[in-house]
Symmetry: D5
Subunit: 96 residues, 10 copies
């Protein structure tokens, strides 16, 4: 089941550089692990911003909440979610 | 080059049913042709709405404008566009 | 799987009264049928408005889209959707 | 008398972890007590966020204010309230 | 129980003058009747607009919905509602 | 001359508790004094918030500015103002 | 007593040209009469728009409402109002 | 003197095709004439929309108003204006 | 050439009182000097706020930028600007 | 390929003056270097603000992201991006 997730990062200006680096490092590892598992299907940078557009593929809303709330950057992001499904004009049964 | 395109359809309430049917028929054929060509990479319905989230793959901004402005439903949609590029945490060189 | 759905009705002022009555009649029958099936778990009027707050219980996003897009009033409503899941402070395993 | 209450938590980034833990612990106990009393009828997490959708069942506006303003997280939340009542298409006399 | 209600009138430009006059006449009679009953406690014009600020005094949310949805101008107004209660700095037990 | 004034309190999270208590104490005394004088005609809490809806009765805009800008909480509130006057459907010559 | 009033004109596209011309003619005469009386102190066009910024000088809110609601274009304008008073840094006692 | 002007076209759906064609033809001629005169310095399409971003070079605000209000599409566009001037980091004295 | 400028002051809560006093003192002197020169034509307080509505009279956009960016409170204000010109219904050739 | 980029600077009030000066110095050098290369085609100050309107000329979205995210002021700016292309009414094949 697919969800579009958009995340905009807002790191506090007074956070120490090494703390930021640590969080970003864990964020990257976590994001890549979820991509390897096929749960984070797409991950794009929005050009000109510190934001991304993502497609998550989860079994239900609870898993979506679990994956997103465990993002190391979760406390420092504005996040919007939209549930997706097959479009009647799509040429694919299961567009991933 | 990828763009996220979001379209919300707002057909005027007083448009005759056969005109609506004709426009929707041409919209579907057009959308499927662009998908076949690989230019309309993804097309999802936003659940609970008459809207879609799409990923276009075009060679430049001019082609994006050409493809979108020729949509049969173009005069009846609210459309937003965001340029995308590779995310540094993506596990794929070219995430499509 | 639960979703909060909020619907605000905006019937065009020039729609003939008998057409409005017919649509509302079918909307009511449809809403009550879905409630009987347990798919439309809660349906409340927002006091002072022509709007409702609803909780849908569906198996996936596709069923949510199917149920909502078949509402007789669908073309005449502003609709927002939010995916819900269990809250860690809830005293019920499955709050319906 | 029912109210939909939506709460989004915004804890200041520089609040010490033990203070946060204390407030969250008291918030959970308080929320569960109100649920046990039947005043906090429903409590759902909005998937992908640090927010909830709740249904309160109170005897009047003053009790609503009393319950909400005593939430331990009250100073750190954006809160919206909507008064609810029976929907004419509801199949239940008193939808809780 | 008090509610602040704000109403902005938006009469369609193509509504015949005699229909408008009839609706406004019934609206005025209805508003004055509710004021006589003490249910519409205050009614002020917002200077420079076709809008009002009102205070309703009702026994519960259901009565509020009943009173507002029966306004003859109801289909032609944008309406917002806020539940009120005693302010701890008010010098009156029951500020009406 | 009446004005509707809405105030939402936003006290900085790092303000010392005794400073907050002092400001709130002076705010309450000031609000009660203005009510005694008849200049702050109504003061209601918006249920579920740290906000109020007020009706001020002043001789002109300058007095409104004077009264509001001297509120001890003035630097910590979002404030909106709307000028009011008699509504043609009001049953009272001077609705206070 | 001064008020800033901003008006944006939105004439319906299907209004007959001679009706529009008549309304505009009466609007101009009305605006010039109020300027002659000193009640409409300033009237500027916002460059690049069909909108104006105005300063009204009235004896109270009721007169402001009277003057604005009698504008021939009143039903076809979005209007915002802000009460003004002397600024402590103004070099004039009564800045008109 | 430069201004950024953004225009979004919203042609009413029920305008006859030949009227639309006539207006668009005159708009194009007008836009090209102003470009030839150097007053409409830049004109770009926003990709994926029926909108443009323009740079006007005029002698004062009055000329800006004159040029924009005479656009054949003026009654059918949402227009925003921002005054521009030399940026201290620009490498050109007069960036056109 | 006239511009409407609206400024809302947002001084950080943790700025030392003597720094605030110094900035405000310089702001007042600067504002009065520009009024004496005739460049800051009007300066009004918006009643019930820490904001003003001003009319600047400058020779071009560059001078507007120069005057505004040198305001001692410039870093602590939200500022909006609108270019003004003669209104065709104004009774004055040069409404100042 | 052209993009309109709008940047509003929001430097934290508590950043030390010498840090600010250093960032601004590097920002200016960076901006001038990109202008020399022809990648930052236009750079204008929005009069009355700490903001700019820019036109970037890049080979694709990835280069846009690269140029913008390396701005020394990037963490302290609100940035919006719009893809541009040739307007059919433009008199230039390649309006730069």
């Amino acid at each position: 089941m697919l969800f579009k997730v958009e995340m905009t990062v807002r790191i506090p200006h007074d956070m120490p550089a090494e703390v930021v680096a640590d969080i970003k490092g864990r964020e990257k590892a976590y994001a890549q692990d979820l991509q390897q598992q096929g749960k984070w299907r797409h991950l794009w940078r929005v050009a000109g911003s510190y934001a991304n557009v993502s497609i998550f593929d989860v079994k239900d809303n609870a898993e979506l909440q679990d994956l997103i709330s465990n993002l190391p950057l979760f406390p420092y992001m504005d996040i919007t979610v939209a549930p997706l499904c097959r479009h009647p004009s799509s040429i694919r049964e299961d567009d991933r």
